[in-house]
């Protein structure tokens, strides 16, 4: 038997004999610098879904005919709905009535409140958040500045705005607020683009889907159509009028002229001018980099900034996106997840007006991602060493060979893939470290949404993922700590809420760590907005600088580490002394 025959058999015939789930999941994949975990090593993430009583299972309504929406949902939000200091979980759901989106089945979005013991209780019925639309994503933010967090749900159908009554229960005010965007919405974010103190809403929209299309894969089997099989939809910008109503200003803001199958979105200052911009990961179309013109309008600078295409000048299948200072040079970089056959992409911010450079290969993120289809993603300092690491939730959109250990039942098992976890070496180079994070990486599922937050208030960042036709999973951060931590909540007392868009710089004796107060990144998801810093061992904090969304800069004294710090606008110094 020839060598290649042996190899072929090993891959195709024998994987079922492979005892190690991890080995099977990553068969044939270059694991980079990942080392197999020693038997006594502590996994960096531990799954605690059952322990925390989270029993959500996603329903996509798929019944044989392959409709595109079935393979794209759903999202998750982590937010403190009842202001009790802990994070609650909201999950979007599809329904069995699909594809008749206006005739839902019994399924609905679910809301889980965290109790004092850290466990979650399904309070959907009493919360008012049991949306029965065909759910896609979720955004959270206090749009009415009343001190509690409201919820915007994106649907295939009409989106919904739920106002928090202040006690963790919600009322649907979509109609009165004029916030019901129709069509197929994907991700959304609350942000204040015009500095009028009220959070506006940006909604990425995907395609004008129709159930009539049928598509076939190269082997002649029926498959999910790609976005190019339909007309793309234009995104929507809803301006907050300050009186619990919104006005669709997409046209006057210059947003509506681009139609480009939008999915992931981040809404924050990306070019350092102090005004919130919008970056949209478009699927099979050039990405959009909406530069805020400071007059209520936006201009798409994606091509000029080098963040529209891949290195071949072609649009990629943008799914999820996260912004963060990945190389610790003080500006905001972008990381995006893509379809199999493409790399996930890291656009390194060159600073000033220089735009971005596709640094994916240089930083070691290229080869390990080509095999997978990435969706939800986040940048977090997992081991508290001062740099941002990356997590990616994967799951195919077209059938391929079943990966051994795939958890979804047939026929969905052939869409399932393992997830990815990369550690940052401190200078912005990444290494695949799934060996240290098996509980997160190894489950072979169809992951979509991914949100982050310190669920157990222990000073590190935990993860929640959604799996299409599968359970949502909670991963507690159990990484070995290489430093201390600091959690910063930035509050504008005039607005009674988190200062969304504020830029927090923790100045250490040897470096500056930058985070942004934002909930919106990843895919269809919304995270805890507080700024989390890992402070490497020996790092001495000197001060905190805050660039508030309205342009004010304030300086706060060196914080005590391993603590949550509340920074209130107006209480810092305006000069660095």
């Amino acid at each position: 038997m020839s060598l290649s025959t042996d190899r072929y058999r090993a891959r195709i015939v024998r994987p079922t004999l492979t005892a190690c789930l991890f080995c099977a999941a990553f068969a044939g994949v270059n694991l980079g610098q990942a080392a197999p975990p020693s038997p006594n090593a502590t996994a960096w993430f531990t799954e605690v879904t059952h322990e925390l009583k989270l029993d959500f299972k996603h329903e996509n309504g798929g019944r044989g005919k392959q409709y595109l929406p079935e393979i794209m949902a759903g999202g998750v939000a982590l937010f403190d709905a009842d202001n009790d200091g802990d994070l609650d979980i909201y999950l979007t759901n599809g329904h069995r009535g699909f594809p008749k989106i206006e005739e839902p089945g019994a399924e609905q979005n679910r809301f889980y409140r965290q109790g004092a013991d850290g466990r979650f209780e399904d309070v959907t019925k009493t919360s008012g958040l049991g949306d029965r639309g065909y759910g896609m994503g979720v955004a959270t933010g206090d749009f009415d500045n009343d001190g509690d967090v409201d919820v915007y749900v994106t649907n295939l159908g009409t989106d919904r705005l739920y106002r928090n009554r202040g006690d963790g229960t919600f009322e649907d005010i979509t109609s009165s607020a004029g916030a019901g965007v129709d069509g197929w919405s994907a991700s959304a974010c609350f942000f204040d683009y015009d500095r009028d103190s009220f959070l506006d809403i940006y909604v990425s929209r995907y395609v004008r889907w129709s159930a009539e299309h049928t598509c076939y894969s190269p082997d002649g089997r029926e498959t999910f159509c790609g976005p190019r099989s339909f007309n793309p939809a234009a995104d929507v910008l809803l301006h907050n009028n300050g009186n619990a109503t919104f006005t669709d200003v997409s046209e006057s803001a210059g947003i509506s002229k681009t139609k480009a199958a939008g999915l992931g979105v981040v809404c924050e200052d990306l070019n350092g001018d102090g005004w919130a911009d919008v970056y949209v990961a478009n699927d099979a179309y050039a990405n959009c980099f909406w530069t805020n013109q400071h007059d209520g309008t936006f201009v798409d600078d994606a091509i000029m900034t080098g963040s529209a295409y891949d290195l071949n000048g072609r649009p990629e299948a943008g799914m999820g996106v996260v912004a963060g200072d990945l190389d610790r040079d003080g500006d905001t970089d972008l990381f995006m997840t893509h379809l199999t056959g493409e790399t996930n992409t890291l656009y390194k911010n060159l600073g000033g007006t220089m735009g971005f450079d596709d640094a994916t290969s240089v930083v070691g993120l290229a080869t390990s991602s080509v095999r997978y289809t990435g969706f939800g993603t986040a940048a977090l300092d997992a081991e508290l060493d001062g740099d941002l690491d990356l997590v990616v939730g994967n799951g195919r959109v077209s059938r391929n060979n079943r990966i051994d250990g795939a958890r979804p039942a047939t026929p969905w098992d052939v869409f399932a893939e393992p997830n990815l976890f990369y550690t940052n070496n401190g200078s912005g180079r990444f290494a695949l470290e799934c060996g240290s994070a098996l509980p997160f990486c190894a489950p072979v599922e169809i992951t979509r949404g991914l949100a982050t937050g310190d669920l157990d208030a222990d000073g590190d960042i935990d993860l929640v993922v959604t799996n299409l036709r599968g359970p949502a999973r909670v991963y507690r951060n159990t990484a070995p700590r290489r430093g201390s931590w600091l959690m910063v909540r930035a509050i504008d007392p005039r607005l009674h809420r988190d200062a969304i868009g504020a830029r927090i710089t923790l100045v250490l004796d040897s470096q500056r760590l930058v985070r942004t107060i934002t909930r919106a990144f990843s895919y269809l998801s919304s995270s805890d907005p507080r700024a989390h810093f890992g402070v490497p061992a020996g790092g001495k904090p000197l001060r905190i600088e805050v660039d508030w969304p309205d342009g004010l800069r304030e300086y706060f004294p060196a914080p005590k580490l391993n603590a949550l710090v509340n920074l209130t606008r107006g209480t810092g110094k305006q000069h660095d002394q």
Binding site: M1, S2, S4, T5, Y8, R9, R11, I12, V13, G28, V29, N30, T214, C215, Y216, S217, P218, D219, G220, R221, E222, A286, I303, M304, T305, G306, A308, Y309, L311, N312, G313, R314, T340, G341, T343, L350, T353, M354, G355, D357, D358, A359, T360, S361, V362, G364, A366, T367, S368, S369, V370, R371, Y372, N401
Partner: protein, 475 residues
């Protein structure tokens, strides 16, 4: 995926004669490996596959079964699987083919691309590119893809070297320059980057990707105007430049899945080549017998190639599958008109109108059909009906004018030709028809003016010949 084992007698393929060694490569070519045991032939699961794909794979497998020691049979299987996205099978077959004929660069190259694009074994892909390059005649795609794979694995310097080499292989390679330019830009070697990107643009001026790269470069060089200019062009033009790769094109030509066949057939229709489109749609029909759209396409092809009976059969089949298929109804009307069954044509036309009463295009399309079938009065009536519903287009006005001309209503025809030109200033036929109409009214100067306008748009147009006959120089 399953495997079929065939136990072969111990055979050894005679080593092929060693091809001439390329002077630049010091690599010693490996000898073929003997086959000494059972041979496994990939047997992809064909459940739910379209019959044509199944047949293609079975045929390629049979070829291997018949000649298991023949490298080309394995290459054929690899390519057939590759063309249909069956990458495990493709990779295995290419590898086997390479074992049997280590002198053939095609197999390691094609295997490398499979490994590369699927992200399975990036290191192995690099090795195979290198081996293919050592064996190959100057073939730019190998260099370019090898460079791209190196770039992806973080080896930018080596990648840049290969991009440079890919541009020096004889034929100008725009993508080689573009890739080099982009890497140079990342290395902040802006002047060199500009040079290469400009070279790329000189070879392929309409490449949106190069314009995008230049927009990015000029922004970094703080040349804002140029940046904006190229950004606008990048939006205007699609990225068109890919690496020309006849070998992979040949592999892809083996694809017989419905999506690929449909793509080719639609392209043929777009080029007006209904004769070539017809057999492709017939194959599509085999794959998807219950697809009403394919039935309509077949009806269109048969009608356009003067087979109205078959057109009617397929249009009726489309209607059986989807009773509201408007295109099928219009095809029935058109084919009936061609056959001279004007009552049927009218009946289907009325049916289409009932389904979609406000659609102007139904009327103008039917008018076109009637006029082409020499039922000018019916055509004119349909045009009038359409115009009552809304604006009719340039082509409709022109056809309307043609019908009126044939009915000797020249003055009214002239008005419609003028409207056609008004709607489309580049409408050569409309200028020509207007010229003919003027000529029939003995307004020779007016006619010549129109012929000149048509000739200016298309020097090969009949209008130019007409001017020539009149002894007037074509502008």
């Amino acid at each position: 995926m399953q495997l079929t084992a065939i136990v072969l007698a111990q055979t050894e393929k005679a080593a092929p004669s060693q091809p001439e060694q390329r002077t630049t490569i010091s690599r010693v070519r490996p000898r073929p490996k003997p086959i000494t045991g059972p041979v496994f032939i990939p047997d992809p699961t064909t459940k739910d596959m379209q019959p044509l794909v199944k047949e293609a794979i079975e045929k390629a497998r049979k070829s291997v079964l018949d000649q298991p020691t023949k490298s080309s049979a394995w290459t054929g299987l690899g390519a057939t699987c590759d063309a249909h996205g069956l990458y495990d099978c493709a990779e295995f077959a290419y590898a086997r083919a390479f074992e049997l004929d280590p002198s053939d660069y095609r197999n390691p190259y094609l295997q490398a691309v499979v490994l590369d694009v699927t992200g399975r074994e990036p290191k192995k892909a690099l090795e195979l590119y290198e081996r293919a390059y050592a064996l190959a005649p100057p073939y730019p795609p190998i260099l370019w893809r090898w460079a791209k794979a190196l770039e992806r694995s973080g080896r930018a310097d080596k990648a840049l070297e290969l991009y440079f080499q890919s541009t020096e292989l004889g034929q100008p390679l725009a993508i080689g320059h573009r890739s080099a330019g982009q890497l140079l830009m990342s290395a902040a070697r802006h002047a060199e980057a500009e040079l290469h990107l400009k070279q790329s643009l000189a070879i392929a001026p309409g490449d949106g990707a190069t314009h995008a790269a230049l927009a990015q470069l000029y922004r970094r060089m703080n040349k804002r105007k140029l940046s904006k200019l190229h950004a606008a062009k990048a939006k205007e033009f699609e990225p068109v430049v890919d690496v020309p790769d006849p070998l992979r094109d040949k592999m892809r030509s083996l694809a017989v899945d419905s999506a690929t066949l449909m793509f080719r057939a639609k392209n043929a229709i777009g080029a007006g080549d209904f004769a070539s489109a017809t057999p492709l749609f017939e194959l599509c029909e085999r794959a998807l017998p219950n697809d009403s759209k394919i039935q309509v396409y077949l009806a269109t092809c048969y009608r356009a190639t003067d087979r109205p009976d078959k057109a009617i059969t397929h249009a009726k089949r489309a209607l059986t599958l989807n009773p509201d298929n408007l295109s099928a109804i219009l095809e029935l009307a058109a084919a009936s008109a061609i056959k001279g069954e004007i009552d049927n044509a009218t009946k289907y036309y009325e049916h289409a109108q009932r389904l979609n009463p406000n659609n102007v295009r139904i009327d103008t399309w039917m008018a076109d059909v009637f006029i082409k079938a020499s039922y000018n009065n019916l055509g004119i009536l349909a045009m009038e009906r359409g115009q009552r519903k809304g604006e009719v287009g340039a082509h409709a006005h022109w056809m309307w004018g043609v019908a009126l001309t044939e009915n000797d209503d020249t003055y009214e025809a002239i008005e419609h030709f003028k409207k056609a030109i008004e709607a489309n200033a580049n409408f050569t036929n409309a200028y020509y028809s207007l010229g003919l109409a003027y000529e029939s009214l003995d307004r020779l100067d007016d006619a010549i003016e129109q012929y000149k306008l048509a000739g200016a748009l298309d020097r090969n147009h009949l209008a130019a010949q007409r001017l020539d006959m009149l002894g007037i120089e074509v502008p």
